[in-house]
């Protein structure tokens, strides 16, 4: 019981139990998607190898840098001691989030023509499912950042930062899984 109390109080300091329930449920969904992708790549190695060669690796690499920079800006927002500074960091982090979305859509545009090639449908279905689910998170959270920048509270910025960093972590894992192995 004491251990649970300790855990709960520490969780509160890190953003609250509800936030972490949400974070772990998201991680569980991403875990299933990643396992599904890896399982299918074992079942159809040639198709996945061919499909991978049509991916925009350069743009994805660039997007990694964009997302990590946005993560740094959100960390600054969570640590800011004045509302004015917090607002500035939140808006900058959101802008980088939107840049990620734009670059990802550009990448999709170069990949969609290959998605109907015979034998590659399975690869691209999984690829668009996994990256699309991640992209939905990246597109939604900057909107919340901009909304919270109107009245930048430390608790809101902290919770958004935690969730944003988890989205960062998911991308760090997705990048080698999708583009490398």
């Amino acid at each position: 019981m004491a251990a649970i109390d300790d855990m709960t109080s520490a969780d509160d300091a890190d953003g609250g139990l509800l936030l972490w329930l949400l974070v772990w449920s998201e991680l569980a969904v991403f875990s299933i998607l990643i396992c599904g992708f890896l399982f299918l790549s074992l079942q159809q190695p040639e198709a996945f190898e061919m499909g991978r060669r049509h991916l925009g690796t350069g743009l994805a690499s660039f997007n990694t840098l964009i997302l990590l920079t946005s993560g740094w800006l959100m960390a600054e927002a969570a640590r800011a001691d004045e509302d004015r500074k917090r607002r500035r960091w939140l808006v900058l982090a959101a802008l980088f989030g939107f840049v990620f979305v734009a670059v990802k859509l550009l990448e999709y545009a170069s990949e969609i023509p290959f998605s109907q090639e015979p034998g590659l449908q399975g690869f691209f279905e999984m690829y668009f499912l996994v990256t699309g689910f991640h992209l939905a998170h990246v597109a939604f959270l900057p909107v919340l950042m901009l909304l919270s920048a109107v009245r930048p509270k430390a608790e809101t910025a902290g919770a958004l930062a935690t969730f944003w960093h988890v989205v960062d972590l998911v991308w760090l894992v997705l990048f080698p899984v999708l583009y490398l192995v």
């Binding site: 855990m7 520490a10 969780d11 300091a13 890190d14 972490w20 991680l27 875990s31 990643i34 396992c35 890896l38 790549s41 074992l42 190695p45 190898e49 060669r53 690796t57 350069g58 690499s61 990694t64 840098l65 990590l68 920079t69 993560g71 740094w72 959100m74 960390a75 600054e76 969570a78 640590r79 001691d81 930062a161 935690t162 960093h165 988890v166 960062d168 972590l169 760090l172 894992v173 990048f175 080698p176 899984v177 583009y179 490398l180 192995v181």
Partner: protein, 92 residues
């Protein structure tokens, strides 16, 4: 004190970007051919390192259990990915 923390965070961000650039250069280098297992292991090692920096410096969690759990999540999938990359080598 606050200024020092800002410098630490900025330094962590620079390290993170540097590691991401190294990982990207490795991947792009072998874009049109199969990546050697050593290169895959290096990129996955960098993934764990990057995850560790995000968790330790960006998230700055107070609960060590959460820190460990998140680091394990990244590490687990890096290992699964490495196992998947090694599977064709080991079973052929």
């Amino acid at each position: 004190m606050r200024k020092q923390a800002d410098h630490w965070l900025f330094g962590a961000a620079l390290w993170l970007l540097l590691l991401a650039i190294i990982a990207s250069l490795i991947i792009v280098q072998w874009r049109h051919s199969a990546l050697p297992v050593a290169a895959i292991a290096a990129v996955l090692g960098l993934t764990i390192l990057k995850g560790r920096i995000v968790i330790k410096h960006y998230m700055d969690l107070r609960n060590p259990t959460l820190t460990l759990a998140l680091t394990s999540w990244v590490g687990l999938f890096a290992l699964v990915a490495l196992a998947k990359a090694l599977a064709p080598v080991l079973f052929h």
